[in-house]
Subunit: 491 residues, 4 copies
Amino acid sequence: MPPAHPFDDTMLDDGDTLHEECGIFGIVGVANAASFVALGLHALQHRGQEAGGIVVHDPEQGFNNARRFGYVRDNFTDPATMATLPGPIGIGHVRYSTAGSKGATAIRDVQPFFGEFSMGGAAIAHNGNITNADALRRELIERGSIFQSSSDSECIIHLMARSLQRSIPDRMEDALRRVEGAFSVVAMTRTKLIGVRDPLGVRPLVIGRIGEDGWVLASETCALDIVGAEFLREVEPGEMVVITPAGIDSRHPFRPSRPRFCIFEHVYFSRPDSILGGRSVYETREAIGRELAKESPVEADLVCPVPDSGTPAAIGYSLESGIPYAMGIIRNQYMGRTFIEPTEQIRNMGVRLKLNVNRALIRGKRVILVDDSVVRGTTSRKIKEMILDAGAKEVHFRIASPPTAWPCFYGVDTPQREKLLAATMSEDEMRDHLAVDSLKFISLDGLYRAVGEAKGRNPKAPQYCDACFSGEYPVEPSDQIEKGFTLKAAE
Amino acid sequence: MPPAHPFDDTMLDDGDTLHEECGIFGIVGVANAASFVALGLHALQHRGQEAGGIVVHDPEQGFNNARRFGYVRDNFTDPATMATLPGPIGIGHVRYSTAGSKGATAIRDVQPFFGEFSMGGAAIAHNGNITNADALRRELIERGSIFQSSSDSECIIHLMARSLQRSIPDRMEDALRRVEGAFSVVAMTRTKLIGVRDPLGVRPLVIGRIGEDGWVLASETCALDIVGAEFLREVEPGEMVVITPAGIDSRHPFRPSRPRFCIFEHVYFSRPDSILGGRSVYETREAIGRELAKESPVEADLVCPVPDSGTPAAIGYSLESGIPYAMGIIRNQYMGRTFIEPTEQIRNMGVRLKLNVNRALIRGKRVILVDDSVVRGTTSRKIKEMILDAGAKEVHFRIASPPTAWPCFYGVDTPQREKLLAATMSEDEMRDHLAVDSLKFISLDGLYRAVGEAKGRNPKAPQYCDACFSGEYPVEPSDQIEKGFTLKAAE
Amino acid sequence: MPPAHPFDDTMLDDGDTLHEECGIFGIVGVANAASFVALGLHALQHRGQEAGGIVVHDPEQGFNNARRFGYVRDNFTDPATMATLPGPIGIGHVRYSTAGSKGATAIRDVQPFFGEFSMGGAAIAHNGNITNADALRRELIERGSIFQSSSDSECIIHLMARSLQRSIPDRMEDALRRVEGAFSVVAMTRTKLIGVRDPLGVRPLVIGRIGEDGWVLASETCALDIVGAEFLREVEPGEMVVITPAGIDSRHPFRPSRPRFCIFEHVYFSRPDSILGGRSVYETREAIGRELAKESPVEADLVCPVPDSGTPAAIGYSLESGIPYAMGIIRNQYMGRTFIEPTEQIRNMGVRLKLNVNRALIRGKRVILVDDSVVRGTTSRKIKEMILDAGAKEVHFRIASPPTAWPCFYGVDTPQREKLLAATMSEDEMRDHLAVDSLKFISLDGLYRAVGEAKGRNPKAPQYCDACFSGEYPVEPSDQIEKGFTLKAAE
Amino acid sequence: MPPAHPFDDTMLDDGDTLHEECGIFGIVGVANAASFVALGLHALQHRGQEAGGIVVHDPEQGFNNARRFGYVRDNFTDPATMATLPGPIGIGHVRYSTAGSKGATAIRDVQPFFGEFSMGGAAIAHNGNITNADALRRELIERGSIFQSSSDSECIIHLMARSLQRSIPDRMEDALRRVEGAFSVVAMTRTKLIGVRDPLGVRPLVIGRIGEDGWVLASETCALDIVGAEFLREVEPGEMVVITPAGIDSRHPFRPSRPRFCIFEHVYFSRPDSILGGRSVYETREAIGRELAKESPVEADLVCPVPDSGTPAAIGYSLESGIPYAMGIIRNQYMGRTFIEPTEQIRNMGVRLKLNVNRALIRGKRVILVDDSVVRGTTSRKIKEMILDAGAKEVHFRIASPPTAWPCFYGVDTPQREKLLAATMSEDEMRDHLAVDSLKFISLDGLYRAVGEAKGRNPKAPQYCDACFSGEYPVEPSDQIEKGFTLKAAE
């Protein structure tokens, strides 16, 4: 098992960031589908960098797949690989490993998964988390299923294999009705591209059109842009779309629910150039920064983002407050994700490998640092130290999300609850812990306003899933509860 | 020979950017010098990404070296490699290949170069370009030297081998007096770290202190920051420093000249967090943006940088003009430099693989795009098209440097003169060629003001090397003239 | 998919040799079982060179496995890999791909296979061929099993998963009673090592003792020698042994049959230093040569083996006939199995890359060439040409097996029947086709005598499986018949 | 530096074999010379397995080269590499590292070496050893040459660079007259293929013809066979041939000497199918075995070779003595040379990884083991133990060369004198040390007779170089004497 690498961005924080676990993409009705899938996955790389996979089907050559560790750009660009992936229909997946199995993922855990049924094969890729996967797995093994991976998503294929239905889409309906949790799914048969969102629509999934006969499914609109597809609409929460070149067959296999889209997609996960709710994510983040400036103003000389995710909110904060925006921290462009064991000396460099303070600019200044979130607080502390070492007079943190006090069980890699700084400290305690001049998080209502809910959060029926802030889990995390997780006491 | 890769940033522009060819770093008086060299080179990676090398010396194990293609982070971080590089003194080098030999570089062309003399070995690494290298090479071969590389820098080692002087520093003085052009050099013997800048000081080189006995030489101050060294001073133009843990011996082997530092280091090459002339490069670039806004104002809704190099100037333009700054173009973080042959389909994607327009933000807006320079104009054209496709109402280009009309022969990889857009077109012609609403370059005087020359450029005795803008070459490019290059006619 | 390589022994013959498809090895009751498995597989490498796999179990670290393409020596010797394979029990497998999927094997087809059952995990490796695998697979898919490989052997794991029995050995009995064909199996649970031979005992499997508590199962005794184990006995046809450090539990799950061991193991597959039936395979082959000399004498100057498999029979022929033995053909020791695409020019070299005639020795001589078998005849033809080119006066082929006229369906990779030279030609026609002075095969009775059956073959109840020579298949090849294979008409 | 590998044949003996250090090959006048060079080097792989290199010249693409660690079959067969080596003329080299630098060789030490002179480039490859290389190197460095490798052979290129002659062949004559020792050289200019043997002709070099205009130079005739070239003649001792498609220009640059070809080439180094002195090496070795049987008969049941090098002599011993020849020791065909670090457990397996005794055959027998030589005696001891463990009644060693009591300084990798068993023990002492029933070496006269000198060795003017047996060095090993080596006292 390759150890983590200190030049790897994702490792510098000791788990001090949140990671979306997956991006998914599917296409039908184009020549050479695999090239489009590769491009789409490249645009979704921010959602998962550990591994990627592509499955395609060709009328003559049948199903083919390639699954690899590492970046899309490194694995799915050479003609030798791409030549093994012919055909007009394909799906793909990029993934993060979950916290527990970091680095321990075997290639057999890399999606899409494939199953051969008596009526033909199907492949499936999944973004989200199945909250009753352990129970399902036990049940399936008891009945004689052989699991080949440690991935929860494999349950879906086995449930499909045992369904009494006759067609693959019907079997998928059957299977997904047994599944709890948050999931967006793309799947394919020999001729059909299938997309599904769970009843709450926690994870995103959009539909695009390309050319005469082409259809695309993707986690975000930025993946439509890169292949030149036109954004048509989102797959609705609870909807299943079965797509052929001839068009979309829309089904609704689940009992209707009120949608609860993940609000953190706005704050951090989605790419700033993606469109959510008719507005670019960038604009939403700028609005978050403006809201923060209104809620928590402070006198200062400069507003600086913690690169790169804090940038749009910092711009918003600057525009609202009139305090000049500046790049006080510079990010090294040449970090990466590789699997080489570092020397101890280099490992200890930590965040200095990735970020450097613009010393000449910062010296003697009162600096507002805008970051997207505080998870464990370890990075925030190091950054504060770098800024003070460079001679800043004051350091004020402004955070573009409310305190992250609860783990996500819907497909985001979060530390256990006791490792979350906000789970054990108040805002003031965190300020003292980080030893900064001030620390302010945006309020939950402020965040709801910034994403477009003028009246803020509806506490009776929250418009979004905000469990990581509120502890209110819209789907019971039953596997976790069995393992000992304690839900927030009803108030 | 590996073909270029479309996911590689450096290839998307078809030579439409300028590349610094090298970064150099040296250290003496520390335990495990190689780890520091690796970190320093990582911080200088923007100056050269094709290959890197490290040479060290240990009293017991003698000289050792490792030279590799690819990023520092991928080659010089694992304990297995670093264990082969023991000792308290070392130098390193990162390089670009020159335009002509793109991709054709053999590992034997990767610096540092090493030579065994009768009084012991020496290694040398070089940033810049020797303008009489061809003539020197012919002369040395005639006398019986065997060249092992196609690199101009190897001349220095052969000149040293033939010097009649007794010590290695004296031989280096001897050799460098035969060399013409722009060069910053770091070199090492078994015990001495040596740094030299050419008489005009075209390329940068700074000195830092680390710990009790440690000394560092580096192309830029950002490489001092990463190893925790304190910035002491620049090596002066025409100075040679011979450093041991005991201190610096400063020599001046060349006839005194007026300095002519490369002004493009301020505009583009150096990292924004490096310090040049007492100010951060970031601040200088912000000043360039302010100067541009004064010289070439225009009514618009947004000021957007062409990421990432246009960012500081765009911020400056916004601050001066009051027009809001916004990220209208989003850069994919997962581009890279790999050596895989892409499919034709992907190759044709071009800049779309790297940049995406923030469509929802741009639609219906009048947009000012700030870029650092225009070389061939191919990228500018594609970006303009992307912005218009996204529905922008107007596109105004503002360029943070004067028109680049002449090639650099001092260590920067530029296209031949006829490929430079500004060599054949006036500003208005370029505007029409790019089909934008307006296009304005900063004036040469404006640029001089922004870098701190309040009265602008002194045409009788320019304070900087600005040959790429002015065609006035401070050192005659004799090899080039022999190959047919025509100097600007005296006016 | 990597193309075949011309420097690869296995490719030079265009399918003109027979390949054993697998070697298996298991061990329990030793520290660091994986190292022993690696050594055992190395000794069995001649039985399969395409890929290998090892599964081990450790009380603390559970099951671990590694499966790789290529040689054991290249994959299972470094401490990094071996450190991932801890524990006192393990099994392993080396394999050939079958003719159809040559080079197309995915890593998921590499054994051992692993299955998680409700009572714990089990791993299984298999040598032989399941003749009703297609039918079993269809049935299992119909019932909802998801196959992960294209290997027939995966059926066994799925049958076990669906068994109603409570223990893993009982489930294995259950599963194997559904399986038809020839198979030797090694399997393991967390604590038990299991070995099985099919009722006819077509493929070999032996038991050894090592140290105080250690037990070994292996395809051949040469794998006992390399780990220093003592040869105890063969697993009997139809026997299942369930082994713990405490001892062997012997079961007999199948209806009793008369054994039909593969006679070709004596001729070619087994290593000459292995013991079969109390005698070294080398001695049996020498006896075959003596028998050949008696049956088909000829006047000549030299007896030369076709290296290396013809060597023992050639020695026997020489000893019996008194004609001097000599190495008339020299084999290049540096052939190998690599996965690089050759140039066309090199591909055309064919057998000359591997074999060279000892020209000075051969010139003017009457040469007897002894080879183990004739499959397609292409290699024999090339060798004859090389010998004549070198100036031999006469060339006489003597073949240490009867004409191979029928394909093997019990775990040996043979061409389709119509590609077998002996399927379409008589001995005399083959002699004319190869254009040699004489060509003689050993008789089937002669072969039986050489392996120790003094009275030759019992036509009513043959003592061995000799289907490849006689067309009499002891187990009906039902999948093949379904695909159109025609059995020999009853006479 | 990769550590040695226990599955590597060359490591099992702890330096207990002698290694030829190089094989050389050159060709001119064919299309695609590089493919022929690769084939020729493949046939010469037994002369050096650590690394190989090829240099070619094409009128349009100039000189190109590729140098790699590992086998020819792995490095010089894929079209990608071969496409970088165009042109009708080329030379190549395979090498062993010398004992001192085992594994430490840098790629820059891999031949051929290349030098650019004012009249054009030349490449050179060398088999042998320059006995005054240290002195030459010091002199050349003093004069200003920069050495790039630690190889002695680089001296030749530097001497050529400094020659006052006008043409490359003349410069090579000039250079080689300064060189002492044993050397066979192939070299090339843009149009000429050059071959040279030292005045004593210690190392072999042969000339072949191919096609209309093609000429080949190779260390042995087996490399002519593989490319389909016809053996013309040997390059004579002291001869230089300068070859173009038009023909051979033969020169004699050195003072005439009496030839002293290496007698060990007959015993061990050359391939058995090569022709030396008009007879196959195989036949000579068979004759050595016959001679041994005459000199040292013994009653026994079997004559067994130590594989593979003892095989021809064992056959000869059997033929002369009438004792049956048998393969009592079986060699694993799947050993190799890879660069993976083994586990300690595997490392300790030693020779058992490579050789296994044919237990069933050996039990209770009196066995004569025929080996080519005894170096340190460690392998002989292990083999004896294996044979006795298998139950042999008596073990008699017969060695196909006289006691090796002196190191070779002419291009063979031998241990230091004190490590040679025969340097410190008499034949009887060695027998007792190895604890065998008898041990006999062939006499020096017997060896001379077997190679065709009917009257045996002429002690006044020995016909061969036999320094390793006699201690009589035909060229003074001056570098070694300077390092402290003591010549045999005159008797």
